[in-house]
Amino acid sequence: MTVINLKVNGKKISKEISDSILLSDFLREKLSLTGTHVGCDTSQCGACVVHLNGNSVKSCTTLAADCDNSEITTIEGLSNNGKMHPMQEAFKKNHGLQCGFCTPGMVMSAVDLLKKNKNPNEKEIRDWLEGNICRCTGYQGIVEAVKDAASKV
């Protein structure tokens, strides 16, 4: 067991955790932040993407114990005082989601893309999102959403 101190969605948290618990399980089971989803066991689908110190990571292959003294943002922490982030708004407007399961990871990845590349072209968007699988949308609405958000962020 280890005690970790970290900030999750801006809130200071101190928890005693098992050394082997994954960040995704820690968020879902210990903090009830169930917006972060687990879609595979192999770090392939990206449904579990969160921001660790501002960068997108796959939380299903990150140990919570490694996140001591770090800042985590999950999909629940993206809205500001009940107002959705422009990326969330853009997903809604451009039908970038259907069943909603891959959506949290997809949105978190897309937000990170715009941090690193303010005005990505279509190819750059598609290449960046290669690590996030969506089975519903055929990616068309997602790509449109990212373009739309890029024009507004």
Binding site: R28, L33, T34, G35, T36, H37, V38, G39, C40, D41, T42, Q44, C45, A47, T74, I75, E76, L78, S79, M84, Q88, F91, K92, K93, H95, L97, Q98, C99, G100, F101, C102, T103, P104, V107, E122, K123, I125, R126, D127, L129, E130, N132, I133, C134, R135, C136, T137, G138, Y139, Q140, G141, I142, V143
Partner: protein, 790 residues
């Protein structure tokens, strides 16, 4: 008031998904909950000698371990196949028992042997590893084509044959073939697919011993039917004491239509231990134990005259249904497949023989399109080859053979009510800039790339399933849908539907229908689904049925509301019901300025009493309340159709295929929300492109699934697609008052032949699905004549 029907409204459900507030089964945690892990067979076919749980039972945190023996003691029944198929010799199909936990044999890798329940998930998994099962391994039957020549898996099921089904007239078909100038022949494989909804399956059983109420939370497209099957056949609990909740569900694509062994077992186990039991699949478990799709081996022959007219079509298929016959497994390769082999062509003679075989692989059942993609693939592949053989343009050959007059009775089953096939073909030719294709081919050639074009003009039968039609062809049960419109006293509305939304956006589309019909603002309408305790019995969502069948039930319930509202309004406005007109949410007395809003009527309906000067607003004999239910059984299937045109570029050095251009023009009849419909088409096409180029469920000779993770099973990703261009034409369905035809499966049905025809056009020789780089490269080696110019 602007019509809501036809508006691109943003979805009501999106905010909760976008902010992480969705409520999926795995997100639910109950007080005093336990965790389950399943012991699964590592062998494709084996006899169980002994299950030793002594070590596992002593493992920390273990609450209970249950096996097939316990299940049998409690007389829990097996899972069922929902449709009985009769073979051409008049005998009923043969199916083996399908116990939720194995009795004495296991029949595929992943088959369920025991459930281990513990205080934590880690403890359950650790203990599951300690369950010692001794097996006598037998030789597995894996190959679809060879299954009938292999040792019988089950006693009494000779040749592993479930049924030998025939649709159509073989004599007439042979006659039609003999009258043709050319007979085109093809051998096709429709590859096994693993549906892969992004949310892995999960179930939680929760039994209350005092009330004897059992609740099952499950990832399901079909909660009422799941309750019915688990009640009536598995005897898990009586229906009135059994609630099935399918909360937010992260995609289904067919794979979540059925009750699974895990559903039955966790529900039963929670009764045994009187605590909630939660199970969530790991992705590898989903690969092993979710129902797979397709897996056909087909021989097809098409007779054509030199002028391009098709004379007859003959199809012989071996359909792999896996180790057990799952709920829709027998109807998928028969009634959902065989009638559709004709496509949208006027063909006067056809026959389709389907031999369904058992193998030691995961059960195969409905996956997006279910039977119709398999049918469309064969007809669109062979029509393409026929046009080439005759030397006709692909578009012209198709046009020549299109059905042109409606209604059209096909020679097999369907009576197609409406369509205009040349319209969507012409529009697709225009959008895809077909006339300049050869220029683009030359451009690609200059880059050293082989460019090909592929057509797919498809039809599907949706809105399953009109009872009268399906009964007349001997297919057993039809599938209607239910709806309830419940006004609250303050004028807002709860809409209950028996269909289920797991990505389709019903909460928006259905609200648009109600908003238009009743003149209630859309924000005052809530669509409720997925809980057997809330709405009336319904049939769920699959087969592109929700709008055509479920939406119509909603429209009919709205009509009943208006009918009652008129009586109440007439009484309140001192007129006759026949003099009341209802428009945009208001009941207006003809030739007067007297009117009542539907909100006022709802309020009046809930407050009927008399007090002082206030008289009851309700006429004598009219019941209080404003709530109406409708059950709708369609009069016919609906027949969406369309043209998809794909262009690919193949790298001749690597064999890699890239979709360069994709155009889809579809006729879905009336469209309620174009944004949602476009999303359904894009998603369907992506899955169809996946089948054509990337995806393949593969078992090795011993029956091990070699594609059981996202590292081995290639899912299409964002960088695999170009921008897809869509267009629409519309001939409304006549079989339902909305005119809706259904759109959910079109992309997955139309895309595989469009892509494969393009690949084969580029490569110049047949390639089977998926057209991986390796396969295409090998095909090019065999056919070196096809070289790019550069």
């Amino acid at each position: 008031m602007v019509s809501l029907i036809g508006s691109k409204l943003e979805r009501k459900e999106d905010k909760r998904f976008l902010t992480g507030k969705g409520n999926y089964t795995a997100d639910i945690n109950l007080v005093n909950q336990t965790y389950a892990s399943f012991v699964r067979s590592p062998h494709a076919r084996a006899k169980i000698n002994k299950i030793d749980i002594s070590k596992a039972e002593k493992s920390p945190g273990v609450v209970k371990i249950l096996t097939g023996e316990d299940l049998a003691k409690d007389k829990i029944g097996g899972l069922i196949a929902g449709w009985k198929i009769v073979s051409q010799d008049g005998k009923d199909m043969k199916v083996p028992p399908h116990p939720p936990l194995a009795n004495d044999t296991v029949n595929y890798v992943g088959d369920h042997v025991a459930i281990v329940i513990a205080e934590t998930l880690e403890q359950a998994k650790n203990a599951a590893d300690l369950v010692n099962v001794s097996y006598k391994i037998k030789k597995a039957v894996v190959n679809t084509k060879e299954a009938m020549n292999s040792e019988a898996i089950y006693e009494g099921i000779e040749k592993n044959l479930c049924f030998d089904f025939l649709l159509g007239d073989k004599g007439k078909t042979d006659e039609g073939l003999s009258k043709s100038d050319k007979i085109i022949k093809l051998d096709l494989i429709n590859n096994r697919l693993i549906p892969n909804a992004m949310e892995p399956r999960a179930s939680i059983g929760d039994y209350n011993p005092s009330s004897e109420q059992l609740t099952l939370y499950t990832t399901n497209q079909n909660p009422h039917l799941t309750r019915l099957v688990l009640s009536a056949f598995s005897a898990i609990a009586p229906e009135h004491k059994f609630r099935v909740v399918a909360p937010d569900v992260g995609g289904g694509f067919g794979s979540k239509i059925y009750p699974y062994a895990e559903d039955a077992v966790v529900a039963w186990a929670s009764k045994k231990i009187e605590r909630p039991v939660k199970w969530v699949a790991e992705r590898s478990e989903s690969f092993l134990s979710d129902c797979h799709g397709r897996d056909h081996v087909t021989h097809v022959e098409l007779g054509v005259k030199n002028d391009g007219k098709i004379t007859a079509l003959k199809v012989e298929t071996i359909a792999n249904i896996g180790a057990y016959a799952s709920l829709f497994a027998t109807v998928t390769p028969t009634y959902l497949y065989a009638p559709l082999i004709l496509g949208l062509y006027d063909i006067s003679a056809a026959s389709c023989n389907v031999k369904a075989v058992f193998t030691n692989t995961a059960p195969v059942d409905a996956y997006r399109g279910a039977g119709r993609p398999e049918a469309t693939f064969l007809i669109e592949r062979i029509v393409t080859e026929a046009a080439k053989e005759i030397g006709m343009d692909q578009a012209e050959f198709r046009k020549k053979n299109f059905i042109k007059k409606f209604p059209h009775q096909q020679c097999l089953v369907h009576n197609i009510d409406s369509g205009d096939y040349s319209a969507h073909l012409e529009k697709a030719l225009e959008i895809s800039d077909y006339k300049n294709f050869e220029n683009r081919r030359s451009q690609s050639s200059k880059k050293g790339k082989l460019r090909g074009i592929g057509f797919s003009t498809y039809i599907e039968a949706c809105g399953i399933a009109p009872s009268a039609v399906v009964m007349s062809i001997g297919a057993g049960v039809g599938l209607w849908e239910s709806a309830e419109i419940r006004f609250n006293a303050t004028g807002n509305v709860s809409v209950f539907t028996g269909s289920h939304s797991h990505g389709q956006g019903h909460e928006t589309t259905f609200a648009q229908i109600v908003g238009d019909k009743l003149g209630v603002p859309i924000e005052n309408i809530d669509v409720v689904h997925g809980d057997t305790d809330k709405g009336p019995f319904g049939m769920g969502t699959y087969g592109s049925r929700s709008l055509a069948v479920g939406g119509t039930a909603i429209a009919k319930a709205c009509d009943k509301i208006v009918e009652k509202g008129k009586k109440v309004a007439a009484h309140m406005l001192e007129g006759k019901p026949e003099d009341i007109e209802f428009k945009a949410g208001e009941f207006v007395l003809k030739n007067s300025n007297k009117k009542k809003t539907i909100g006022e009527i709802a309020f009046a309906c809930y407050l009927p009493g008399q007090f002082g000067e206030v008289k009851s607003p309700l006429p004598a004999g009219v019941e209080p309340g404003l709530k109406e239910t409708a059950f709708y059984d369609p009069i016919n299937f609906s027949f969406p159709a369309g043209t998809h045109i794909c262009e690919v570029e193949v790298d001749e050095d690597t064999g890699e295929t890239k979709v360069e251009k994709y155009t889809a023009v579809d006729d879905f009849g009336t469209i309620i929300n174009p944004m949602i419909v476009e999303g359904q088409v894009y998603g369907g096409i992506a899955q169809g492109v996946g089948q054509a180029l990337y995806e393949n469920g593969h078992y090795d000779e011993s029956g091990q699934l070699t594609t059981a993770s996202y590292m081995d099973y290639t899912m299409p990703r964002a960088d695999n697609f170009p921008q897809i261009k869509l267009g629409f034409t519309s001939t409304p369905a006549t079989s339902n008052p909305l005119g809706a035809k259904g759109c959910g499966e079109a992309g997955a049905i139309a895309a595989p032949p469009a892509v494969m025809n393009a690949v084969i056009d580029a490569v110049g020789t047949d390639v089977s699905m998926p057209a991986t780089a390796e396969k295409v490269w090998k095909a090019l080696k065999k056919n070196p004549s096809k070289k790019a110019a550069a």
